[in-house]
Amino acid sequence: MKKTKNENLKILFYVGLLFLASRLLLIMTGCIYNYLTEDYSKTWDLLYHFDAEWYTSIIDHGYMNLPRPDGQASYAFYPLYPMIVKFIKHFLPETYTANQIGILVSNFCIYVAAVISVKFSRLLHKEDTGYFFAFLLFFAPHSMYFSMTYTEAMFMLFTIAFFYVCYQKKFLAAAVFACLAALTRIVGIFLVFSLLIFMYQADYEKVTLKNMIAFIKGIFLNPLRLFEIMICPLGIFGYLYYLYRLVGDVWASAHIEVAWHHSYNNLFKALYMNLLSPGSGASSQYWSMWGVLGFVLIGYLIYKKYYAEALFGLLSIVVPLNTDVLAASRYVMGNVVFYIALYEMLNKKQTAKIVVMNSSIVIYCVLLYMWFSENCFFVF
């Protein structure tokens, strides 16, 4: 018991050090940006762009029932993150802005997620320290979304917690995390399929028709198991009902996407067209390549027999990429399963790990600088 407590404290401490180092680098990049532009902006203002503005609008004013002149509206964004930030805002002095509290919440979420990631990696590989996973969450390219008023950090927390408890066969806790993840970002709903795979693997070793029929029968005969599956979509259906009450359309959050970009309605077409031409703007090729990288990492997960993770990763990039490749880098690097793939791929290859760690730090700073300059849609 005492040994576990000491171990947990050690994890909290070392993950805390990594966290501080990454945020120091973030602030330092902000200072360099201020110096080169001969301006002075506070770090939280430098981070405040794009979707962060939508989230603060929801936190301060609630959801809009009418769109803006360009057709865009805030109900495209899912409610749990702004709800929690708003709740915390009630307890803090009014001088704190929604953006500042959003940044605090995101940073807290990613710190906890990193602590869980260390414990998760030790669960998978007993001989491992697991700090490389935490490093990736703090320094990987595009991990900057975890430090701003974006939902990515909270989503990462719920999804890593989901996989962590699934490996311990605590399926009720997993279902609650899946429910919370879906209320944070719509793709969280796909965790229900991963949950089913974990449940199946807990009961049966081989995939046969007989076992599958017995598994389905078992779900209906075991009310607790049925309950665990049923609560996964509860939050998101609550939000869909709310949208019906707000604008009269259950699928409003999906329909509103048309105001942001046109849909290719075909995954391969979206990837192919954007690889060849700037279909979705100057960063089309870059985003398409992230989409391709996502599929490569999913293939690697299947190869390593991480089927539940692979299925979740596949569904959570196929659905947005079917529309467009816009912000594909965020979809990939905002999802825990791709970190699991990177971790598995690199962890035992010392030289590759060092190269990736060093280049990650450089790319992290470059992307942060581009984010601060705002006029570059490269990062979005």
């Binding site: 809009m64 002149p69 057709g71 509206a73 049925l226 699928w251 048309v258």
Partner: protein, 62 residues
């Protein structure tokens, strides 16, 4: 998560089945509403049918 003896309790099982039935009914009701949107013609034309390129309806400025 729940103690073994509680999971075997018949009342506990009935309560869980009732909760599941309630959730299933709610999901079906939301799906039903999904097929019957109560929206303006402008909303339908721009967001659902996508027959117009620009939002023609009322707007809100924030």
């Amino acid at each position: 998560m729940f103690p073994e003896n509680l999971q075997k309790n018949i009342i506990f099982k009935i309560v869980l089945y009732i909760c599941c039935a309630g959730m299933a009914a709610f999901y079906l009701y939301v799906f039903y509403l999904g097929f019957h949107p109560q929206v303006s013609d402008d909303y339908r034309a721009y967001y659902i049918d996508q027959t117009v390129d620009e939002w023609p309806g009322e707007t809100m400025e924030r």
